[in-house]
Amino acid sequence: MTTHNDRVDQAIRNAVETALPQINGIDFDAALTSDVGLDSVQVMDLVMEIEDELDISVPVEVLAEVQTLNQLGERLRSMIKDNPR
């Protein structure tokens, strides 16, 4: 059985591949804007991919609170735990 943990990480990896094909092997601990160099539009594109992968809606307020993919993953896991499908 796939755990939420695996599912979220896999969804993020798939989303990075689709939304940011130019980036190889993204570091989950890197700050998306200052380290990876993404602009706000690219971050939003990435999150929309993740939403479709996980079939959840991520409020934009969450984006202001996270800097790295690991932080985003944590928030997504807690959202899924609070609202299991």
């Binding site: 602009d39 539009v41 690219q42 594109d45 929309m48 479709d52 079939d55 409020p59 934009v60």
Partner: protein, 394 residues
Amino acid sequence: MSLFDKFSHLAAARAGLGAEGTPPVATPIEDIISAAEGVIDGKRVILAGTNNYLGLTLDPDVVDSAKKALEHFGTGTTGSRMANGSYNAHGALEQEISAAFGWPSAMVFSTGYQANLASIATLAGKDDYLLLDSDSHASIYDGAKLGNAQTVIFRHNDPGNLDRRLSRLGADASRALIVVEGLYSMLGDQPPLAEFIEVKKRHNAWLLLDEAHSFGVFGDKGLGLAEQAGVLDDIDFVVGTFSKSLGGIGGFCTSPHAQLELLRLAARPYIFTASPSPAVIASTRTALSKVIAGTDLRTRLWDNINRLYRALETYGYRLGSDKPGPVAAIILPDRESALAHWRGLLSNGIYTNLMVPPATPKGLNLLRISLSAAHTPEHIDRIIQAFGQLRKAA
């Protein structure tokens, strides 16, 4: 560490546009000759980068009404609509807007930005939801930030993507406000309005349509894309601006829901700012009457639009929209070629807008041309010729 450190990336982006020559950002316009011509760097140029779609800024009747109001009522109201800033003319303009739409209520705001800020932040409250198109204007995003609703973004012009997000809300979708624009100003593209309305109705949600760039341009009375599409009855709120087709400054929100009036008691960008000056209200009222009766203006505008779109397509340019409209956005491969096009056109006496990331969707480098009823056939000839020369040189 300085408070200004966080702006270094913006300074770098500006520096990337070159320090030499006329600045492509906040280009100084030294004089205005007509609604379609001005002076930049001491040289007479065609203004093809304004939002003066109907050319009403220098219409003699519009200017005259502003002059009379200025002389009679003075330079400003010095107060909020809630205090001493509601003159008869403010109310009259609101009635004229609501009457044009055939709706019971309209509110006037001091800028178009504030119209979106107030409407979006106030209509969608703490337990409500905002569903925003990803290419939304900054005023829409800022309205979401100012308010307390939970905000979810859907893919640009994608009703299926919106449908999935509303489905996740279940019955709560009846407390969701969807926001789309009648014309997106960066790419000049239009929304699939009928499909969005179908999704909205199915989920019992609400729809706000921002007609900032489409008001005056589309529809028999110039009320915007919803009028042209014959779907006004299915829209809950229309937001518009006075600073484009109406040639002034200010904005409005109008609605078939009479309860819109309640926003006067709750919308902070409406309450805590000075009301529009009497001269602006007067010029807007005259301009509005001309927009509603302005079939000839729209005919001239659309002749110009169709000619330019056809020519750009013939030259093989990639455009932001396959449907012609008042904004023609040329997608160029990189920042350098966009800047070269902008400078090339300016040296040929044509002012346009350079749009580069992060201000643009999908990281695109754009040259944005906006058309006007004030452009003569000769102006359009010159714009087309200038693109022809650039194409030859490329």
